[in-house]
Each structure stands twice: as C-alpha cells, then as structure tokens.
Subunit: 120 residues, 2 copies
DNA sequence: CTTACATATGAACACCTATTCATATGTAAG
DNA sequence: CTTACATATGAATAGGTGTTCATATGTAAG
C-alpha cells in the first residue's frame, strides 16, 4: 500500500471499505431531492407523514416509500401519536451532519471555478 | 419566527428547492462507493488517475468516467503534470465538508441522543 | 518519424430506482 | 358494529446509472 503521506490537518484520507460503503449508502439516500427535502423538513422537529407530504407537495404514498428507506437506514425514526406518525432524525449525530451540509450550501459562494471542458 | 433550534444553531430547516437540488446532486455523486473512494483518495493531496485506479483496484477507464462527473460537478479539478493528470479537491469548502463526513463516520460509536423539541 | 504510456471517450448492457396507482393495514370516533 | 382518516405496502413502469470493452486523443522519449 504505497500511500502518500498525510499532508496537514486533514484526516488521513484512508477509510476502510466498509466505512466507505456505509458512508456512500447514506450519501445515496440523501442524493434524491425528495428524500433530502424530507430529511431537511425533520431538522425543525418531528413531522407527520401528512404534513411532510403537504409541505413538500408530494403524495403521501411517495413520502411513505421514502420514509421506509430512511427508516431502514436509521436516519429517521418513527413515533406514533394517535392516528398520525411523526418522524424525527434518528440521533444528534445525523442531525449535526445534515445541518452542517445545509449550512455549507447556504453560505455565499466561495471561489470562482477554474476553467473546464472545452467543446469544439 | 423560526422554529426552536434544539442543540446548536440549527438552520431553520427551510432550504430553497434550488439549494436542495444542488445539495442532492452533490450527495448523489458521493453516493457511489467507487466515486466516494476516489474523492476520499484526493483528501491526502492531488492524485494521478493511474494511482487512484491502482490504489482502489479499479480500471483506469472507470476511474476516468467517474472523474468526468466529479469534474463536471466542480468537486475535483484536474492539473496536468507531464503525461499524468492529477486531480484534487476543487476548493477548501468541499474538502471541509467531505473531511467532516469522514470524521463523523470514523468516530467509534454513535448512539441515539433523545431530545424533546416541539410537541403540539 | 515511431513507439510506449496515460487518460479520455463512446457505445452497449445489465442493473437499479423513483414514481404512480391500487389496495391493505391500523386507528380514532359516531 | 361502521365510517373516516392516516399511513403502509405491493406491483408495474419509465428513466437513470455504473460498469466493461473497444477506441481515440494526447504526451514524452528513442
């Protein structure tokens, strides 16, 4: 394993394949706009399925399908309250990660792009 | 008035659809194990296509295909050095976000932290 | 020039996935 | 009981995507 020496304060780039797959799995779930919006909705507190659907303009069926995946991945957890079921972020760890990403995206643009593909 | 933030200054859950799609796009790219490993490889510094391929056990062709996507999304940027082309994270912003996620996954164990927020 | 190496590109294929529709399950109220 | 509401589930489908193979482009050296 001819690995390049770690540079500076950055974590040493190496990540076990298992962890990589685990991370990729989480990224993949958040990689769908509908699912990402659902997760973001829960950042403000537990939300019922119906509220999420109405708020995002999605069908309750579709929201439920996505919630099943987010539930299986332990990103969200359900809590029954009467007829409704409220979903919340599974733990503070997930909440922090998501909030961090949202915060980063909401920041003003950092630098301009270089130059890229040229098409003759 | 924004909803009450529980732990830190959580952003008020709302995110414009454009930003949501932009974020989801980035997540989707990182949602593939091969692509995620490629990005993580560049955390330690610029890496040539061949080195990445050899290091990850992927074909140079596949790596190049993935690099094209990461390049188009401005996550990585190429730099020619002789015959080889080195790829590095496009900016410190991206680097920080990725490193943050990796650090979170590498933490020993994450356990659920319950907290009551909003109760109608 | 030719040769060898490094990367990129296009096509084809198999696989996966997001969405919709119809239907089922569960729950509170009349 | 029945009715109405909230959520879940299964099937079917259209579109997307990762991978491989073959080939092209670019670059340094002999």
């Amino acid at each position: 394993m001819p690995k390049s020496a770690s540079l500076h304060a950055l974590p040493a780039a190496a990540l076990s394949d298992d962890k990589a797959i685990e991370l990729a799995d989480m990224f993949r779930l958040l990689g769908d706009p509908s699912r990402l919006r659902i997760v973001i909705e829960t950042l403000g507190g537990p939300q019922s399925v119906g509220d999420i659907a109405a708020n995002l303009g999605l069908s309750p069926s579709l929201v439920s399908h996505h919630l099943r995946l987010l539930r299986a991945a332990r990103l969200l957890s359900p809590e029954r309250r009467g007829k409704q079921i409220f979903y919340r972020l599974h733990d503070a760890h997930i909440a922090h990660v998501i909030a961090d990403m949202v915060a980063h995206v909401q920041e003003p643009e950092h630098e301009a792009a270089h130059e890229e593909d040229a098409a003759p």
